[in-house]
């Protein structure tokens, strides 16, 4: 720690004036955003509550928010991650309800990001390779296009054959559901790169490799991040399907149990959690997008400002 002056200046107890101004500006730009989010969700909940109030929605089938959010600790008990199918495990065994909810959430999130990360890295590499080497295109593209329309559900037995039970099949499911589409999206992005950029680089004497690394890769990055955001939602959908069948615990498993035990409150409670998680992940990705795509003016940063 030789650079303490810099470090201590950064960690000053009182933020300097420009920092305050920045924080205030940030707050001001976020408040309407936050406000409208609350209004939007509130409106949806209010309509639901009204339907319940007038007796149109049976609370045993469609419990309104105030019902399914009333017994949080009770609901949390169902997230028990103890492996109850194993012989000799007591029904009260396992971590406390709050910890169980956390473990469930974290394991689902981990599966989403592991699958999404793998699919992103491999599909971008392969997509670029397909455009770079004709031979790779000829060898792989027909198969990829054939497999792209196959529903993730069809991969479910394959996932279990290959990986049994646990994290493996869930990650594989997320991966396989996104992989083919992301390859095709990468190729589309490469084909859509403005010819002028490539021609400018060519006139400056760039080699094929330099054109790919220095021009095509940065040029497709904005589009790829939009693709990534769309596929993030896809990943959340698929992980639920995978968890519902093959994995010991996770949000999908909770939904499945809620279905089997006829517990609509638990279903909606879990849906709320999934919604919040998806929203949070999307927010995170948007922040990353803004960081990486520093060169795009804010207003036209693809979907960054939607």
């Amino acid at each position: 720690m030789t650079s303490t002056p810099v470090a201590s200046a950064r960690a000053a107890p009182f933020p300097s004036a420009p920092q305050w101004r920045r924080a205030r500006g940030l707050l001001r730009s976020w408040l309407p955003h936050l406000g409208w989010t609350i209004v939007s969700v509130g409106l949806f909940a209010a309509i639901w509550e009204l339907c319940w109030y007038f007796g149109w929605a049976d609370p045993r089938l469609l419990p309104p928010p105030h019902v399914f959010l009333s017994d949080l600790t009770g609901q949390a008990k169902f997230f028990n991650t103890a492996q109850r199918w194993q012989v000799g495990v007591d029904s009260n065994a396992g971590p406390s309800p709050a910890v169980a909810v956390l473990i469930t959430i974290l394991s689902s999130t981990m599966r989403v990001f592991a699958g999404l990360g793998l699919a992103t890295v491999i599909s971008i590499c392969l997509g670029v390779a397909i455009r770079y080497f004709r031979l790779i295109e000829h060898l792989t593209l027909p198969t990829i296009t054939l497999l792209a329309p196959v529903s993730p559900v069809a991969w479910l037995p394959v996932a279990i054959f290959l990986f049994g039970i646990g994290n493996g099949p869930a990650i594989f499911m997320v991966f396989v559901a996104l992989f083919f589409h992301m390859i095709l999206a990468t190729i589309t992005q490469i084909d859509g790169v403005n010819r002028n950029y490539i021609n400018v680089a060519r006139t400056m004497g760039a080699s094929k490799w330099q054109i790919y690394r220095r021009v095509i890769l940065p040029a497709i990055l904005p589009g790829l991040l939009v693709v990534l955001r769309f596929n993030l939602f896809g990943a959340w959908m698929v992980v639920l399907i995978a968890e519902a069948t093959g994995v010991g615990f996770g949000l999908g498993q909770v939904i499945m149990m809620a279905r089997n035990t006829f517990n609509p409150s638990l279903v909606f409670f879990t849906i709320v959690i999934i919604g919040l998680l998806g929203f949070g992940c999307d927010f995170l990705l948007r922040q990353i997008q803004r960081r990486i795509l520093y060169w795009l003016p804010n207003r036209t940063a693809g979907l960054a400002d939607v």
Partner: protein, 262 residues
Amino acid sequence: MSEPAICCRGVGKVWAAGTERAHEALRGIDLIVEDGEFVVVLGPSGCGKSTLLYLIAGLEETSAGEIAAHGVPVTGPAPDRSLIFQETSLFPWLSVWQNVSFGLSLRGVGKAEQREISRQVLFRTGLAETFDKRPHELSGGLRQRVAVAAMRPKVLLMDEPFAALDVQTRAKMQGFLLDVWRESGASVIFVTHHIDEAMALADRVVVCTARPGRIKDIVTIDRPRPRDPFASEAVALRRKLTELLSAEVDRAFAEQENVAIA
């Protein structure tokens, strides 16, 4: 005995040759551009003038004839023949100085040296304050000035570079381009469909026919710059160029109508 900067002999180009979408863009272009000469190619839209630049730049292959740059046959793009487009000649993900030194970075020149050379180039062209900016932070005119400054070629090829700019900016840019041209001693081949632009810039104006593009006439302008666009010679010249061009514009329109009917 110096070779001409660019020598085109019987150059022709057919796009999508051999398919049913094939169409002939250029036919039998014979054009010699001397070292340090400013040539403007004037023609109706879609007459293949841009195609000619792409061929000279080496970005596309000729279908007929041959092109030589300083006596060496053109087989591909090279840093001494640079093409400036109407838009997007700068990479938006690089800062201005990184754009200027992009060509150097391709050749593995060190970062510090790149910065230094960019700084000098931008300073010389009066763009020093744009050094650390990003292209999207600059106006369209400034962007094109940086694009021109980034290139230090022997032959500068420009494809309607100022078409997206407003009239006042365009006049300024023409002055800037003439300064760069005079200082660098490069040859310029400049494509436009604006008669006034051609008259302000050119040593020689090459008037092209409608598709397929052929050379209809070459008009030499022997007046010192900056040129008064309202001088009596200018009026006569404008009339001549307008007549040459309007006949071709009519033909281009007639052809488009035929295509639309068929």
